[in-house]
Protein backbone atom coordinates (compact mmCIF):
# COMPACT_ATOMS: atom_id res chain seq x y z
CA UNK A 1 0.00 0.00 0.00
CA UNK A 2 2.98 2.26 0.45
CA UNK A 3 3.50 2.34 -3.32
CA UNK A 4 -0.16 3.34 -3.77
CA UNK A 5 0.34 6.30 -1.46
CA UNK A 6 3.53 7.27 -3.28
CA UNK A 7 1.52 7.47 -6.51
CA UNK A 8 -1.08 9.67 -4.78
CA UNK A 9 1.70 11.96 -3.49
CA UNK A 10 3.11 12.14 -7.00
CA UNK A 11 -0.31 13.27 -8.31
CA UNK A 12 -0.23 16.17 -5.83
CA UNK A 13 3.33 17.09 -6.81
CA UNK A 14 2.30 17.06 -10.49
CA UNK A 15 -0.69 19.33 -9.74
CA UNK A 16 -3.23 16.76 -10.93
CA UNK A 17 -4.98 17.07 -7.56
CA UNK A 18 -4.52 20.00 -5.18
CA UNK A 19 -4.89 17.85 -2.09
CA UNK A 20 -6.03 14.37 -1.08
CA UNK A 21 -6.94 12.56 2.13
CA UNK A 22 -7.80 8.98 2.95
CA UNK A 23 -11.35 8.50 4.20
CA UNK A 24 -13.84 5.64 4.42
CA UNK A 25 -12.99 2.40 6.18
CA UNK A 26 -9.24 2.70 5.63
CA UNK A 27 -9.24 6.26 6.96
CA UNK A 28 -11.18 5.12 10.02
CA UNK A 29 -8.67 2.30 10.52
CA UNK A 30 -6.01 4.82 11.46
CA UNK A 31 -8.08 5.20 14.66
CA UNK A 32 -10.05 1.96 15.10
CA UNK A 33 -9.64 -1.82 14.85
CA UNK A 34 -9.14 -3.41 11.39
CA UNK A 35 -12.41 -3.89 9.48
CA UNK A 36 -13.13 -5.60 6.20
CA UNK A 37 -12.97 -3.40 3.12
CA UNK A 38 -12.06 -3.96 -0.52
CA UNK A 39 -11.22 -0.42 -1.61
CA UNK A 40 -9.39 2.69 -0.55
CA UNK A 41 -11.58 5.81 -0.52
CA UNK A 42 -9.59 8.90 -1.36
CA UNK A 43 -11.17 12.34 -1.18
CA UNK A 44 -9.62 14.86 -3.52
CA UNK A 45 -9.61 18.57 -4.14
CA UNK A 46 -9.40 19.03 -7.88
CA UNK A 47 -7.95 22.07 -9.60
CA UNK A 48 -10.77 24.06 -11.20
CA UNK A 49 -11.08 23.84 -14.97
CA UNK A 50 -11.61 26.95 -17.11
CA UNK A 51 -15.36 26.51 -17.10
CA UNK A 52 -15.34 26.03 -13.30
CA UNK A 53 -16.41 22.43 -13.81
CA UNK A 54 -15.09 19.79 -11.41
CA UNK A 55 -14.31 16.55 -13.18
CA UNK A 56 -12.29 13.46 -12.34
CA UNK A 57 -11.35 12.92 -15.99
CA UNK A 58 -7.92 14.67 -15.87
CA UNK A 59 -7.10 12.56 -12.79
CA UNK A 60 -8.07 9.33 -14.55
CA UNK A 61 -6.10 10.45 -17.60
CA UNK A 62 -2.98 11.10 -15.50
CA UNK A 63 -3.34 7.66 -13.94
CA UNK A 64 -3.80 6.00 -17.33
CA UNK A 65 -0.61 7.72 -18.49
CA UNK A 66 1.16 6.12 -15.52
CA UNK A 67 -0.20 2.70 -16.52
CA UNK A 68 -3.07 2.40 -14.01
CA UNK A 69 -6.41 1.21 -15.28
CA UNK A 70 -9.99 1.81 -14.15
CA UNK A 71 -11.88 -1.15 -12.76
CA UNK A 72 -15.54 -0.30 -12.32
CA UNK A 73 -15.67 2.76 -10.08
CA UNK A 74 -12.05 2.36 -8.90
CA UNK A 75 -8.57 2.67 -10.33
CA UNK A 76 -6.19 -0.15 -9.49
CA UNK A 77 -3.03 1.52 -8.21
CA UNK A 78 -0.25 -0.88 -7.28
CA UNK A 79 -2.68 -3.66 -6.36
CA UNK A 80 -5.14 -1.51 -4.40
CA UNK A 81 -8.50 -0.45 -5.90
CA UNK A 82 -8.71 3.27 -5.19
CA UNK A 83 -12.01 5.11 -5.37
CA UNK A 84 -11.58 8.84 -5.87
CA UNK A 85 -14.30 11.09 -4.53
CA UNK A 86 -14.27 14.83 -5.10
CA UNK A 87 -15.14 17.01 -2.12
CA UNK A 88 -18.77 17.47 -3.07
CA UNK A 89 -20.13 19.33 -0.05
CA UNK A 90 -19.11 21.74 2.71
CA UNK A 91 -18.41 18.98 5.24
CA UNK A 92 -16.00 17.20 2.87
CA UNK A 93 -14.30 20.48 1.92
CA UNK A 94 -13.72 21.22 5.59
CA UNK A 95 -12.61 17.63 6.29
CA UNK A 96 -10.03 17.80 3.51
CA UNK A 97 -8.77 21.21 4.57
CA UNK A 98 -8.25 19.97 8.12
CA UNK A 99 -6.99 16.45 7.34
CA UNK A 100 -3.98 15.21 9.30
CA UNK A 101 -0.53 14.60 7.90
CA UNK A 102 0.46 11.06 8.87
CA UNK A 103 3.01 8.48 7.81
CA UNK A 104 2.55 5.02 6.39
CA UNK A 105 5.91 3.43 7.12
CA UNK A 106 8.31 5.87 5.39
CA UNK A 107 5.70 7.56 3.21
CA UNK A 108 3.83 10.71 4.24
CA UNK A 109 0.10 10.73 3.61
CA UNK A 110 -3.01 12.63 4.59
CA UNK A 111 -5.90 11.16 6.58
CA UNK A 112 -9.23 12.69 7.58
CA UNK A 113 -9.58 13.50 11.28
CA UNK A 114 -11.67 10.99 13.26
CA UNK A 115 -14.23 13.70 14.08
CA UNK A 116 -14.78 14.34 10.36
CA UNK A 117 -14.93 10.61 9.58
CA UNK A 118 -17.65 10.32 12.22
CA UNK A 119 -19.57 13.31 10.84
CA UNK A 120 -19.32 11.98 7.26
CA UNK A 121 -20.60 8.57 8.41
CA UNK A 122 -23.52 10.29 10.19
CA UNK A 123 -24.30 12.28 7.08
CA UNK A 124 -24.15 9.22 4.79
CA UNK A 125 -26.20 7.17 7.21
CA UNK A 126 -26.09 3.64 5.75
CA UNK A 127 -25.94 0.62 8.08
CA UNK A 128 -22.18 0.31 7.68
CA UNK A 129 -21.79 4.02 8.39
CA UNK A 130 -23.75 3.69 11.64
CA UNK A 131 -21.43 0.84 12.63
CA UNK A 132 -18.45 3.07 11.83
CA UNK A 133 -19.88 5.82 14.03
CA UNK A 134 -20.16 3.31 16.88
CA UNK A 135 -16.57 2.08 16.44
CA UNK A 136 -15.20 5.62 16.22
CA UNK A 137 -17.08 6.64 19.36
CA UNK A 138 -15.80 3.56 21.20
CA UNK A 139 -12.22 3.34 20.01
CA UNK A 140 -10.95 6.62 18.54
CA UNK A 141 -9.58 9.39 20.67
CA UNK A 142 -12.09 12.09 19.74
CA UNK A 143 -11.76 15.76 20.57
CA UNK A 144 -15.31 16.18 21.87
CA UNK A 145 -15.30 19.98 21.65
CA UNK A 146 -14.04 19.86 18.06
CA UNK A 147 -16.57 17.14 17.18
CA UNK A 148 -19.41 19.22 18.63
CA UNK A 149 -18.34 22.14 16.42
CA UNK A 150 -18.22 19.97 13.28
CA UNK A 151 -21.64 18.42 13.96
CA UNK A 152 -23.19 21.79 14.72
CA UNK A 153 -21.70 23.54 11.65
CA UNK A 154 -23.04 20.82 9.36
CA UNK A 155 -26.38 20.40 11.11
CA UNK A 156 -25.69 16.85 12.20
CA UNK A 157 -26.05 17.33 15.95
CA UNK A 158 -29.51 15.79 16.04
CA UNK A 159 -28.35 12.56 14.35
Amino acid sequence: MEKTLQVLNDLVRAGVVSRYAIGGAMGAMFYIEPVLTFDLDVFVVLPQTHGGLLTLEPLYEALRARGYREEDECVNIEGVPVQFLPAYNALLEEALAEAREMRYEATPTCVLRPEHLLAIALQTGRDKDRERVRLLREQARLDQKYLKGVLSRHRLDDK
Partner: protein, 68 residues
Protein backbone atom coordinates in the same frame (compact mmCIF):
# COMPACT_ATOMS: atom_id res chain seq x y z
CA UNK B 1 -25.48 -27.57 35.32
CA UNK B 2 -24.02 -24.21 36.38
CA UNK B 3 -26.32 -21.77 38.11
CA UNK B 4 -27.49 -18.86 35.91
CA UNK B 5 -25.56 -16.26 37.91
CA UNK B 6 -22.25 -18.09 37.32
CA UNK B 7 -23.00 -18.41 33.61
CA UNK B 8 -23.87 -14.72 33.34
CA UNK B 9 -20.60 -13.83 35.08
CA UNK B 10 -18.68 -16.05 32.69
CA UNK B 11 -20.39 -14.59 29.65
CA UNK B 12 -19.82 -11.05 30.89
CA UNK B 13 -16.14 -11.97 31.28
CA UNK B 14 -16.01 -13.31 27.72
CA UNK B 15 -17.56 -10.13 26.33
CA UNK B 16 -15.18 -7.97 28.37
CA UNK B 17 -12.21 -9.95 26.99
CA UNK B 18 -13.57 -9.52 23.46
CA UNK B 19 -13.88 -5.75 23.96
CA UNK B 20 -10.35 -5.59 25.40
CA UNK B 21 -9.03 -7.44 22.33
CA UNK B 22 -10.80 -4.99 20.00
CA UNK B 23 -9.31 -2.02 21.87
CA UNK B 24 -5.89 -3.69 21.56
CA UNK B 25 -6.42 -4.21 17.81
CA UNK B 26 -7.39 -0.54 17.45
CA UNK B 27 -3.95 0.41 18.84
CA UNK B 28 -1.98 -1.69 16.32
CA UNK B 29 0.32 0.25 13.95
CA UNK B 30 -1.48 1.06 10.70
CA UNK B 31 0.67 -1.22 8.43
CA UNK B 32 -0.20 -4.09 10.77
CA UNK B 33 -3.90 -3.26 10.32
CA UNK B 34 -3.48 -3.29 6.54
CA UNK B 35 -1.99 -6.80 6.77
CA UNK B 36 -5.03 -7.81 8.84
CA UNK B 37 -7.39 -6.36 6.22
CA UNK B 38 -5.73 -8.36 3.45
CA UNK B 39 -6.02 -11.51 5.58
CA UNK B 40 -9.72 -10.72 6.10
CA UNK B 41 -10.17 -10.17 2.36
CA UNK B 42 -8.57 -13.56 1.61
CA UNK B 43 -10.89 -15.25 4.13
CA UNK B 44 -14.08 -13.56 2.97
CA UNK B 45 -13.53 -13.40 -0.81
CA UNK B 46 -14.51 -17.04 -1.55
CA UNK B 47 -17.75 -16.64 0.42
CA UNK B 48 -18.66 -13.40 -1.36
CA UNK B 49 -17.74 -14.83 -4.77
CA UNK B 50 -19.94 -17.84 -4.07
CA UNK B 51 -22.79 -15.36 -3.48
CA UNK B 52 -22.05 -13.75 -6.86
CA UNK B 53 -20.27 -10.63 -5.63
CA UNK B 54 -17.08 -9.85 -7.51
CA UNK B 55 -14.33 -8.81 -5.12
CA UNK B 56 -10.62 -8.35 -5.57
CA UNK B 57 -8.13 -9.21 -2.86
CA UNK B 58 -5.38 -6.59 -2.71
CA UNK B 59 -2.13 -7.68 -4.30
CA UNK B 60 0.26 -5.60 -2.29
CA UNK B 61 3.76 -6.32 -1.12
CA UNK B 62 4.08 -5.52 2.54
CA UNK B 63 7.19 -5.72 4.64
CA UNK B 64 6.83 -8.40 7.31
CA UNK B 65 6.09 -7.24 10.85
CA UNK B 66 9.03 -7.35 13.27
CA UNK B 67 9.68 -10.88 14.50
CA UNK B 68 8.26 -12.69 11.45
Amino acid sequence: MKPMETLNREIAGLFAAKEARRRKLAKLPFPEKVRAVVRLQRMVAPVLRARGRQVRVWTIEESAPPGE
